[in-house]
Symmetry: C2
Subunit: 233 residues, 2 copies
DNA sequence: CTGATATTCTATAACTCGTTTGAATAATCG
DNA sequence: CGATTATTCAAACGAGTTATAGAATATCAG
């Protein structure tokens, strides 16, 4: 039984019908999410506006390939770009795009394959601090917030009051952190390995440390105070 | 600059690193959303549990093709299946899967191509009734709710108190609807054409009619009262 | 205008996806 | 058990995607 759905209006045989165009349009956005490099690039642009070259370096792919993938994301309405002098900067197009990524990760997290990959990448689960709790504890002078992301991402925007110590410098710059309060570390999001790794390192070095649930994009989307500053690299 | 992100642990040259596996896992779910038939099938299983044959007929594709696409959706964790006698029934795996579809549609709706396709498929925008408003008006005896979806979808689950009149039978069964209260029509969701078409038809026939915002899945997810009954076809 | 830098485009090759067809498998009914 | 029905699998083809290298374009500094 094919091509007989009278209620939807006639003309089905071989014809491209409006309903198909609509599903095609939705699938077009789905296609933007159908490649691992694009997922990674999407997470990176969610940290702030960055050039193609900077994104390619972070995702460890060639500039040409990053450019191609970013254009697919742009066609899917997930990112926008603007030219500034000689470089083209990409950002997340709007908050719905991050909500979509989060929904994707929520569904994926139920799959065994994701769970295994996450466990292997993130290491043993570390106890997390909630956002509201963190606000209260910082206000009480009871905790200090550390941003473990690369310096350019901190510069593009970070949790108000946080101090920037990229994960790679954490051990050498340990002295900058107070010893009398708990350290709360955050990074890019729930599937970023920096904060679990940073917390593990801090504990090995004898400090009290926990990670923030989620990361910077979620904090910003929750409407909590952020500081945003210097231009992108 | 490639393969030099020291903070993420070494061993990058040619090796498949854990981070890639994680992004690959997310992209796997994205791939499930990257085909128009799969989007349509996802919307259909969101109406209730249905057999492969029934879904293939609704989506106007062959049974073999529907089976293949449903298995991609299952691998992506979006639907589940169970065998009942000679047939295999598919349903939405969990509410997060519908939330993902909704997030996808929200992003897509910002694209010009989607907007055009939606306008062409749904026709001129029709004023909608909110869910809470509808609950109040039905309680006050001020409105009657009509489910325009095919009878099997109504049977699988519907808004409590709604009457089933499939769009194709609306004109001939007009007498079943009261003339003294407003008619509120609903169907599968915000991108389903049945309720706008049904409302337009009712108005042409001299009735007071509006459509419900969204459709049955959204109503159910909002925790509002539903009735669920007979087995799937 | 020229040269340098950043990004995009083009061509190409390997690979994956979508679809159709017909065969294989599973469960039911006589 | 054999026939029937529903679903899945397998092969095969065309179409689309990914990745690479190198050419083309755009902007800026001189």
């Amino acid at each position: 039984m094919r091509g007989t759905d009278a209620a939807h209006g006639a003309a089905t045989v071989g014809t491209r019908v409006a309903k198909d165009d609509l599903h095609e349009a939705f699938a077009q956005v789905g296609k933007a999410l159908a490649n691992p490099h694009r997922i990674e690039l999407l997470e990176l642009v969610a940290q702030g506006e960055r050039s193609v070259e900077a994104l390619a370096a972070r995702a460890d792919i060639s500039v040409a390939l990053a450019s191609a993938h970013l254009q697919v994301l742009r066609r899917g309405g997930l990112v926008t770009s603007r030219r500034v002098g000689t470089r083209v900067l990409y950002v997340l197009a709007h908050d719905d795009a991050y909500a979509l990524l989060a929904a994707l990760q929520a569904v994926a997290s139920r799959l065994g394959t994701t769970e295994q990959a996450a466990a292997r990448y993130l290491g043993a689960p570390v106890e997390a601090v909630g956002r509201e709790e963190l606000v209260a504890r910082v206000r009480a002078g009871d905790a200090v917030v550390v941003d473990l992301r690369p310096a350019e991402e901190f510069a593009a925007g970070h949790i108000a009051g946080a101090v920037s110590i990229p994960l790679s410098e954490l051990e050498t710059r340990l002295a900058e952190l107070p010893t009398d309060v708990e350290i709360v570390a955050y990074c890019r999001g729930p599937y970023c390995a920096m904060s679990p790794q940073g917390v593990a390192l801090l504990r090995r070095l004898g400090r009290r440390a926990r990670r923030l649930e989620d990361g910077y994009p979620e904090w910003r989307l929750a409407g909590l105070p952020v500081e945003t500053g210097g231009g992108p690299g």
